[in-house]
C-alpha cells in the first residue's frame, strides 16, 4: 500500500471563542477524491487553509504527501496545489502571463515556465484565450485558469475550495470532467462543496463536517444506506394533513414527520414498492387523494438532515464564512 496523500490528525483551530475546527482527523488515499461536505461556517475552508499551510492549527498535525504542514510548510508547498473560493488570478495579466508567473514562483527555469504555461492552458482548453487579459474572461474561464494555476507545479495533492460555487451548469460539468481527468492521472484531490450532488458525483469518500467536527464519513452509498433504504414522500393538501398522518404513522411504526416547506410527509420504505402499494391502498380507503407520491433512494440532503438536524442551506451560498470573518476581525498569531 502506498502512504496516504493527506492525513489530518486531531486538528483544532479557534478564532476567538469560535471553534472553527474541533479535532478533525481524516485520511485520504493517493489517487482518490475526498469530498468535504458541509454548510457555510462548518469549518471546511479552515481545514483546507490549515492543510495548505495558510493557517497554523492550535493543535494537531497535518501531513500532505507525507510532509508535515506545520513543521515544514515550505516543503509541503512544493507538493500541493490550491484553488480557493475566489478565482485568485490577476485581471490585468493574460491567462498565459498568470501561469508563467506561477511557474517562475515555483522556480522553474524561465523556458520551462513558458512551456508549462502552454501545456496547462491546453489542458484546461484555454489556449485560444491565453493571450487575452483575464479581465475579458467569463466566470467559468477564470475558475478554470485558477485551477490551472494550481496545476503548474505538478502537485501530487490538489485542494479545491468550492470549485464550482457560482458557476453555470455547463461550466460546472466542464470543471467536474477536468477534476476527474486529473485524478485519473494520479493526482489526489480534496474538495469542499455545499452541493450534495457534487460530492455524490465526484468523491470516492465523503466527509460530512458540521460545527468543526467530522460527523460522519463514507462513500455516497454508505451514507445513503445509513438511512435504511428507500423512502416515500407523500404530498397532501393541508386539509388532508390530519387524516393522513395516522395512516402513514401506522405503516412506518413511528410518527410520520411533516415537512412544512413541501407540504409532505416522509416515511421509510423498507419493502420498497410493496410499502408504496400499501400507502396507496390505505390512502384510497380513507379517501385521501395525494398531490404527489414518490418512492426514491434517500438523497444526500436527507442524509445531511438526519445527521445534523438541520438542512444544508445550499440555496443561500455565502462566500464569507463566519470562521473567516472571525479571522479578519481578530487576526491571529
Amino acid at each position: 500500500m502506498t502512504e496516504p496523500s493527506i492525513v489530518a490528525d486531531s486538528i483544532v483551530r479557534h478564532f476567538g471563542e469560535v471553534k472553527a475546527l474541533d479535532g478533525v482527523s481524516l485520511t485520504v488515499e493517493a489517487g482518490t477524491i475526498y469530498g468535504l461536505l458541509g454548510p457555510n461556517g462548518a469549518g471546511k475552508t479552515t481545514l483546507i487553509r490549515v492543510l495548505t499551510t495558510l493557517l497554523k492549527p492550535d493543535s494537531g498535525t497535518g501531513l500532505v504527501a507525507g510532509i508535515d504542514v506545520v513543521a515544514d510548510p515550505h516543503g509541503a508547498r512544493e507538493s500541493l496545489g490550491l484553488a480557493g473560493q475566489t478565482a485568485a488570478v490577476d485581471e490585468f495579466l493574460t491567462g498565459r502571463e498568470n501561469l508563467e508567473m506561477v511557474g517562475n514562483l515555483y522556480h522553474l527555469p524561465s523556458r520551462e515556465a513558458k512551456s508549462r504555461a502552454d501545456e496547462v492552458l491546453e489542458r484546461i482548453h484555454l489556449t485560444e484565450a491565453g493571450s487575452r487579459p483575464v479581465s475579458t474572461y467569463s466566470g467559468g474561464m477564470r475558475r478554470r485558469l485558477d485551477l490551472a494555476a494550481s496545476l503548474v507545479g505538478r502537485p501530487q495533492v490538489l485542494f479545491l475550495d468550492e470549485p464550482t460555487t457560482g458557476l453555470d451548469p455547463r461550466s460546472r460539468l466542464e470543471m467536474w470532467s477536468l477534476i476527474n481527468e486529473l485524478v485519473d492521472e494520479g493526482t489526489t484531490v480534496m474538495l469542499t462543496t455545499q452541493y450534495l450532488e457534487e460530492a455524490d458525483r465526484l468523491a470516492d469518500l465523503i466527509g460530512v463536517i458540521d460545527h468543526g467536527q467530522l460527523i460522519t464519513e463514507g462513500t455516497a452509498s454508505d451514507l445513503k444506506a445509513k438511512l435504511g433504504g428507500d423512502i416515500i414522500d407523500v404530498a397532501v393538501s393541508v386539509d388532508d394533513r390530519d387524516r393522513t398522518e395516522p395512516i402513514l404513522s401506522s405503516i412506518s411504526g413511528t410518527r410520520a414527520p411533516w415537512d412544512e416547506s413541501t407540504f409532505s410527509f416522509t416515511i421509510p420504505a423498507p419493502q420498497g414498492a410493496a410499502t408504496l402499494t400499501e400507502v396507496v391502498r390505505k390512502l384510497d380507503q380513507a379517501g385521501v387523494v395525494p398531490n404527489d407520491l414518490a418512492l426514491h433512494r434517500p438523497s444526500l440532503d436527507d442524509v445531511f438532515l438526519s445527521l445534523t438536524g438541520h438542512a444544508t442551506d445550499g440555496d443561500t451560498p455565502e462566500t464569507e464564512q463566519p470562521a473567516q470573518s472571525g479571522r479578519r476581525r481578530r487576526g491571529s498569531k
Partner: protein, 266 residues
C-alpha cells in the same frame, strides 16, 4: 557548514528571483492601466502649475531663488509621499482578491510579495519624476549646481518615497481595506506635506507650528532635495535625510513583514 552556506545562498537567489517576478507583475499592472500612471503624473503637474502661477506670486520667500526652483524639488518629494499610498492600496486589493493566498500557497519567498510591491512603486515613481522634471524644465526650472548633485537630490526624494512605501504597506495590511487605507494614509500625509517647506518657507508659518514644520521629515527631505538641486549650501542635510530614511525603514520594514504575516493568518 558548506551545506548551510549553500542553502542560504539558494534562499537569497530565490528571494531575489521571486522579488523580480513580483516587480514584473506589479509593473505590468501599471502598463496595462495607463490611466493610473497618467493621473498619478497629472496630479503633481497640476500642483506644480497651480502653485507656480496661482500662489507663486503671492508667496513671499526668504530665499532669492526663483519660485519654480524652490517649488519643483518640493513637489518631487510630495509626489513620492503621495505615491507611497499606492503601495497600501495595491496590497489591500491583492488581499481582497485572494491573490495573496495563492502566493502564500506557493513555495516562494514570503517577503517577495512586499519587496516586489514597494520596488515596483519605486520604479513607477522614477517614471513620474522624469515626467515632472520634463514639465518643470518647460516652465523654467533650472538646476543650480552640478548634474551629480541634482541626481543625488532626486535619489533622496525617491528613497524617501520608498521608505514611506514600507510604512504604507504596514498601514494597508493593518486596515485591510483599500478605501480605509486611502483615507487613513491621507490623514497622516496631508499635515506632513502641507505643514512643511514643500510649498512655502516654514518661516512664514505661526511660531507654534514652525518647530514642527521645520524639523519634520518631509521638510528635512524637501530642504535637502532643494539644496542639492539648487546648488545651495547642504550642510548636514544629506546626513539628516539618510537618517530619517534609515529610521523609517528600520521601523516599518520589520513591522510590515510582521503585519503581513498576521494579516494572512500564519
Amino acid at each position: 557548514m558548506t551545506m548551510r552556506t549553500r542553502s542560504i545562498s539558494r534562499d537569497v537567489t530565490h528571494q531575489v528571483r521571486d522579488t523580480i517576478v513580483m516587480v514584473k507583475r506589479n509593473l505590468l499592472r501599471i502598463v496595462r492601466l495607463p490611466q493610473l500612471l497618467f493621473f498619478s503624473s497629472v496630479q503633481p503637474i497640476i500642483f506644480l502649475l497651480l502653485f507656480t502661477y496661482v500662489f507663486g506670486g503671492a508667496i513671499t520667500r526668504g530665499t532669492d531663488i526663483a519660485y519654480i526652483d524652490f517649488l519643483l524639488p518640493g513637489v518631487l518629494v510630495q509626489t513620492a509621499v503621495f505615491g507611497s499610498t499606492q503601495t497600501a492600496i495595491g496590497l489591500t486589493e491583492d488581499l481582497a482578491a485572494g491573490v495573496i493566498d495563492r502566493f502564500r500557497s506557493l513555495p516562494m519567498a514570503r517577503s517577495a510579495v512586499l519587496t516586489g510591491r514597494t520596488t515596483a512603486d519605486l520604479i513607477r515613481n522614477v517614471v513620474v519624476t522624469i515626467i515632472m522634471l520634463a514639465v518643470g524644465s518647460i516652465i523654467g526650472f533650472r538646476i543650480g549646481g552640478t548634474a551629480l548633485e541634482a541626481l543625488l537630490g532626486v535619489a533622496v526624494a525617491l528613497l524617501f518615497g520608498f521608505s514611506l512605501s514600507w510604512a504604507m504597506a504596514a498601514l494597508g495590511l493593518w486596515v485591510k481595506n483599500a478605501e480605509t487605507a486611502q483615507t487613513a494614509s491621507f490623514v497622516l500625509i496631508f499635515p506632513l506635506v502641507f505643514a512643511s517647506s514643500i510649498f512655502v518657507p516654514t518661516a512664514s508659518m505661526p511660531s507654534w507650528l514652525q518647530g514642527f514644520a521645520a524639523n519634520q521629515p518631509v521638510s528635512v527631505i524637501a530642504s535637502t532635495v532643494r539644496a542639492l538641486m539648487g546648488g545651495l549650501p547642504v550642510g548636514s542635510l544629506v546626513l539628516q535625510s539618510a537618517l530619517w530614511i534609515a529610521a523609517i525603514l528600520a521601523v516599518f520594514f520589520p513591522l510590515g513583514v510582521r503585519i503581513y504575516r498576521r494579516a494572512v493568518g500564519s
